[in-house]
């Protein structure tokens, strides 16, 4: 058996397929990195509950006080006026800008989603509130922060009557 000279040996044909093995390795490594680094989404907010609860008569409440409320259906109000999220953030930011004490009170319907309440606290802080006051838990029938104030209600009815007439 004589060996063929090198020049006469048949060379392998060129490989036309792409070798995807290194690509898969890289993708798997990236996948593992993202799985490790991606944290569970948690929104946090620090709150201080008051030591003493003071009951303030309705007439003594400052008129420029800001009261944010989360309604039972998940909607928001600012001083009893309904708002969408972004307009609420902007309006609250404007109102707080002119205030020396940037205090916002937050109230929520007992059946409102906890997620919504934390979102509201987050929104108030984002809008520039330095201090957040949390209203005490009320019974469903005692929660009035989402119902229009009597003056606004009358104005709304008058306006409706005017437009109807």
């Amino acid at each position: 058996m004589s060996k063929k000279p090198k020049g006469l040996q048949k060379s392998k044909p060129p490989q036309s397929e792409i070798n995807v093995t290194p690509l898969i390795d890289v993708v798997l490594v990236l996948l593992i990195i993202f799985m490790v680094l991606t944290p569970i989404t948690i929104s946090e907010m620090s709150v201080n509950l008051p030591d003493n609860t003071e009951t303030v008569e309705q007439d003594d409440v400052p008129k420029d006080q800001l009261l944010l409320a989360v309604c039972e259906d998940g909607t928001y109000t600012l001083n009893r006026s309904p708002y969408e999220v972004e307009p609420l953030r902007e309006d609250l930011r404007k109102r707080l800008r002119s205030k020396a004490k940037k205090v916002v009170f937050v109230d929520a319907h007992p059946d409102a989603s906890y997620d919504r309440v934390v979102h509201m606290l987050d929104l108030a802080r984002d809008a520039g509130a330095d201090r957040l006051g949390m209203a005490s838990l009320k019974k469903a029938d005692e929660f009035t922060a989402c119902t229009p104030s009597p003056a606004e209600g009358e104005a709304g009815e008058a306006e409706a009557e005017t437009s109807a007439g």
């Binding site: 948690i42 946090e44 030591d51 319907h109 989603s113 906890y114 997620d115 919504r116 979102h119």
Partner: protein, 76 residues
């Protein structure tokens, strides 16, 4: 940790607790590490009343500073 059950289940460091023993369980956890902060984490499907009642129990135990957290996707 407040989990969405009826009534809601309360956990202190992954150990089931009850409203009556919650303060004791939290104090025990504090004794192990007094520098810890108190985080009240609740499922996003809970109602405000369910979480607020737990906060009131904690507050009645003399702890007035706590962190609130909600588990789930954050709405932007």
């Amino acid at each position: 940790m407040v989990a969405p059950r009826t009534p809601p289940e309360i956990y202190v460091d992954m150990t089931r607790s009850e409203p009556d023993s919650l303060i004791t369980d939290i104090n025990e956890a504090y004794q192990e590490d007094p520098q810890r902060s108190l985080l009240v984490k609740g499922d996003k499907n809970l109602t405000w009343q369910e979480v607020r009642e737990v906060m009131d129990v904690i507050h009645s135990g003399g702890m007035s500073t706590m962190l609130l957290a909600v588990e789930g996707a954050k709405e932007k």
